[in-house]
């Protein structure tokens, strides 16, 4: 299985992070080297506990380390209105059997990348605090980072504020470091993730698979959709799973290469990802931005991944 892509999962679970990790674990193309938590959807204590619970549930047997509560600069922001008090409300989950390593997330990332024979891909589905810190503190490891696939930003607009998407808004300085890094960067922003809607009938398809993990995934979707339905969404936008789908099934996605910058200041635009759409700046592209998705194929991908856990336990 040497063809597998070695990855680090860095996220703030979070319902859509958990579904992204579910997709990653089930994929024959990915090898999870480590998981790290970041403060975002909820406090670092909560996202770390959730990360350990999700790893236990999914059977992800890899080292785990906690990130920090604060972004690189500024105060934390959380999204309890979307993900609930625990950050992963909904179905009951097993108590975690995974323990956190006695080092922080950035050190675990660095150690993992340094020890890997092959360049490592980072799947970042939360604020970019850990990834930004890694690039600042361990620049010598950049050649060993193959690719960073992020869920974050929006070329055209935001969600948490009119201009900014949540993950980038939480830590714009870290995001700025990542976008300026020169590394291969895939951006699953709102442009694509708001098209990656999972409809209630899709929840039922996944629930009907019957295995315990498929049922939990359906219940995460039930919970995640409750908030989104209240603000007019036709389905649950499983943002983070698109960052994983980009690695395992890029053919279902449409991408364009843009020069993207992160606004770190301003009255309204802090956290905005600004793309040079018309090319007036004459700067070379730094971002492979996903802009569209074959929704049906994406649902198939999620359902096939959920079904894999049933076969696994047989």
């Amino acid at each position: 299985m040497t063809s597998k892509i070695p990855i680090i999962l860095d996220g703030d679970p979070g319902h859509d992070d958990a579904i992204a990790w579910m997709l990653a674990k089930a994929s024959a193309w990915l090898e999870i080297l480590a998981c790290t938590s970041v403060s975002g959807n909820q406090s670092i204590e909560k996202t770390s506990y959730n990360a350990r619970r999700v790893m236990t549930l999914l059977g992800i047997d890899a080292p785990f380390a906690m990130g920090r509560e604060e972004p690189l600069h500024g105060e934390p922001i959380h999204a309890g209105n979307i993900h609930g008090e625990t950050g992963l409300d909904g179905p009951a989950l097993p108590d975690p059997t995974i323990e956190a390593e006695p080092i922080n997330a950035v050190e675990l990332m660095a150690k993992t990348i340094a020890a890997s024979d092959k360049p490592v891909t980072i799947v970042a589905t939360g604020p970019l605090t850990n990834v930004g810190a890694l690039l600042i503190l361990y620049p010598e490891l950049k050649p060993k980072i193959a690719h960073i696939s992020i869920m974050g930003g929006g070329l055209a607009h935001g969600n948490w504020t009119p201009a900014a998407e949540f993950n980038i808004l939480v830590d714009p300085e870290a995001a700025d470091v990542v976008f300026k890094s020169g590394l291969q960067l895939t951006m699953a922003g709102l442009d694509v993730t708001l098209k990656a809607l999972v409809f209630p009938e899709d929840f039922e398809r996944i629930r009907a698979l019957g295995n315990p993990i498929a049922v939990v995934v359906a219940e995460w979707l039930d919970f995640f959709y409750t908030f989104h339905r209240s603000i007019g969404y036709a389905g649950a936008p499983v943002h983070d799973a698109v960052a994983v789908a980009a690695l395992i099934k890029p053919e279902i996605l449409t991408a364009r290469d843009y020069y993207v910058q992160v606004e770190t200041s301003g009255d309204f635009c802090r956290g905005a990802t600004v793309a040079d759409h018309y090319g007036f700046s004459q700067q070379p592209p730094n971002t492979h931005a996903l802009v569209d998705i074959d929704r049906e194929a994406f649902i198939d991908l999620l359902a096939e991944a959920a079904a894999w856990y049933g076969k696994e336990s047989e």
């Binding site: 935001g158 606004e263 009255d267 905005a272 793309a275 018309y278």
Partner: protein, 308 residues
């Protein structure tokens, strides 16, 4: 229906010139006056060009001289697009001159009083004159029915990746206008980048034969060349589309939105931020035009230009 009384606030400017050609022929509009403002090029040029365009069109309406630069900042211009005199090198000599002793913002207030609440403004340059008018006359918001602007973008910009030129040229002025309480209809790049006329269509306009129709094609040729370097075949009719919108919005799609202008960002100064697609919502202070029926637009242009 009686025509809408409007003031055309502008910075001619090549596409402003086309806007003049159309505005004169639109039966829905009664253009009471022109106010000039620095923008594409300096006020000396834009004011001169406004007077020259009126002479060229034999159009007898007053011109009021406006602001020579932004409310708070240094002037930027777009001479690389419009040519050093703003009119792609065309000199438009004229005998007439602007109204003595009355500046643009005082004129806007005076007309607004006279029209008793019916006045609309079509602003196709930086919004400096309007901002100064709102700053000077607290009663003005109650006297203006609607403001249609060419400016801004809910998405990407052209002056910078984030900002469209007219807003970038005076972001504070633009935010003052958006916050004035008068509904602002934003004809920005979302729509105007789709208001494209192809070189073939420009030739067809010229073939109508009048001196105005030939001028229509010829004055935009430098911009056509400029755009081709960006991979766009033809010219985006930014200002003319805003004038047509003001006259008849039936070929446009616009949505109510909360709109503000970023004045402080590092890379986003002059960006118009809209809440159209965001989960976070603002109080609605205007409309954002997102689409245009391009074919119908081109047909409209032919119809108006054949009146010359």
């Amino acid at each position: 229906m009686s025509p809408i009384p409007v003031i055309l606030d502008c910075d001619p400017g090549v596409d402003d010139a086309i806007a003049f050609l159309l505005a004169k022929q639109l039966p829905q509009l009664n253009v009471l006056a022109i106010t000039s403002v620095a923008g594409n090029v300096s006020l000396e040029h834009t004011n001169y060009n406004a007077l020259g365009l009126l002479e060229f069109l034999d159009w007898d309406i007053p011109v009021y001289r406006g602001a020579a630069g932004p409310v708070f900042r240094k002037r930027v211009e777009a001479a690389e697009v419009h040519g050093s005199n703003g009119m792609a090198g065309y000199d438009l000599p004229h005998a007439r001159s602007e109204v003595e002793g009355v500046n643009a913002w005082d004129a806007i207030h005076q007309y607004a009083l006279e029209q008793q609440g019916a006045l609309e403004i079509i602003a196709i340059g930086p919004l400096t004159n309007l901002a100064l008018a709102f700053l000077k006359f607290p009663d003005l918001p109650q006297l203006i029915k609607r403001i249609v602007i060419m400016g801004g973008s809910s998405d990407a910009g052209n002056a910078t990746p984030a900002a469209e030129f007219n807003i970038y040229a005076d972001p504070e002025a633009a935010d003052i206008v958006f916050c004035s309480g008068v509904p602002v209809h934003m004809c920005g790049l979302d729509m105007t980048m789709k208001a494209l006329m192809t070189p073939d269509e420009l030739n067809q306009v010229a073939a109508l034969g009048s001196k105005q129709a030939v001028f229509f094609r010829d004055v935009v040729q430098d911009i056509v060349r400029f755009m081709s370097r960006l991979g766009i075949t033809g010219i985006n009719m930014h200002d003319p589309a805003a004038v047509l919108y003001a006259a008849d919005d039936s070929i446009f799609t616009a949505y109510p939105a909360g709109i503000r202008v970023e004045t402080k960002g590092t890379i986003t100064q002059g960006k118009t931020v809209t809440d159209l697609f965001s989960d976070a919502k603002w109080q609605k202070n205007g409309f954002v035009a997102m689409d245009i029926d391009r074919e119908a637009f081109v047909e409209k242009v032919f119809e108006l230009m054949s009146k010359y």
